[in-house]
Point group: D2
Chain length 146, copies 4
């Protein structure tokens, strides 16, 4: 990987270990591109639940995914263990942009870099609402450059 | 496949076409064993929704999966189209046993045979309840041997 | 959806029908964001196999996914049938950029819009190679604006 | 769970921790029944790779799944961590039957009990062959009752 703009392990304030699963591998013998997004999804929601007290069944507001993206730099394979680094690159009134770096085993350079935009909406009306305070408090420590 | 006891295409009263997806294939170049169960799950729930009016968000009773199983006879591959045949082999007061045959493209013999047991429970108490009448009416025409 | 820049159904030269599956739905009762990428992956590879004669086991060159992205406009749900529209927005020497529009049932406006970049590499060296002629012939008719 | 015949945590000689993922949860807010099989698949193959030296790309023999099954006793949910206990209940010449117990967090009683039958076949002919010695050595210590 020779993309100088990509962050390295030390740029992420929070990590979650995600072991790969057998069926993550596709016919080419590496983790299928789709599955990377389940790592992003898991890293983001795990933090919202553990640090932010997200209650997906009862909270009146929840995060809708507005946009995601991924740049793939190198392979991941079962049985690798992935360290998913999480940081926040933009924290708005109703929306948050996360960046997720996937680090294979002990590597310092990411195998992939994900982008994930959540917009907080009211469960009933599905209209944007301010990010709930308990969630905001969980996101602020992850702001890049802070 | 030389298991004389396995049903053939003509033994199933109801079918649903399920196209395989790229990531259904695993590293061995065929559909991963786990994915067969998503075909079973889809065939059963599609029938309950379309013929039985199942409303997964509002019904007071829903089907909990108590037991599943599968015998694998031959490979499935992307981009096959699977005909999932569905029949009911036991219809009890609170529970139903489905059998699902997966037929690859135009084959008359199943590539796999699934077994799927639903127990109907109350959404709040999670205690068994009688199968709701609208569901029962959707299952009776699928009873094997009728 | 009020993004004027997003293409509509008529902008796509090729379609593939993808029925949703029960487990595509997540806890919020709609198709999980990750699963949209399996629709993209399936639409792209299905075309490469059917129209381009891609042989994923024996071809000396294959497409590695370099980058993907998705903008989400509205919900998809089981048991929807998704029409995945496919077009090519950039066809280079070694790489191709696809755009995939996901249309729910009879809708003319996309529920989501995907971007998918394939780089063709040699199976052994994993170095970029020219897109194989059989693949190129399958992609040219999908070029947007032609 | 009141099935006296089901094994408990202490009956399994080998464990693997499998964290659940966000998208493992289905619309009912618990891990979808299909996903349990990906835990079985992962536990079995992880052991074959780590302890048995399975090389899924180059070994001349590999394990084909002939039959699987699962009894579901209680819910699993994201973000649970599952301890997948693995043992061998039958070790034949060409085939092996595994039993997998899924234990939620610190529970001693399984949330589900899986059965998984592998038949070893030649990669080319797909005919049954003796279980390779390196694999057999990895399975013998897992034999139940030894």
């Amino acid at each position: 990987m020779n993309d100088k703009s990509a962050p390295v392990r030390g740029d992420f304030p929070h990590f979650m270990a995600i072991p790969t699963r057998w069926m993550d591998n596709d016919v080419y013998g590496h983790v299928n591109n789709v599955t990377y997004y389940s790592y992003f999804d898991t890293a983001v929601n795990h933090h919202l639940i553990e640090a932010g007290g997200l209650d997906m069944h009862n909270d009146t507001a929840f995060g809708v995914v507005a946009e995601t993206g991924c740049r793939f730099f190198s392979e991941l394979k079962f049985p690798d263990i992935i360290d998913a680094g999480l940081r926040v690159t933009r924290l708005g009134a109703s929306s948050v942009t996360y960046e997720i770096g996937l680090f294979r085993n002990d590597s310092d350079e990411p195998a992939a870099l994900g982008r994930f935009v959540h917009v907080w909406v009211d469960r009933e009306t599905r209209r944007p609402v301010p990010i709930p305070p308990k969630i905001k408090r969980a996101l602020e420590p992850l702001l890049a450059g802070t």
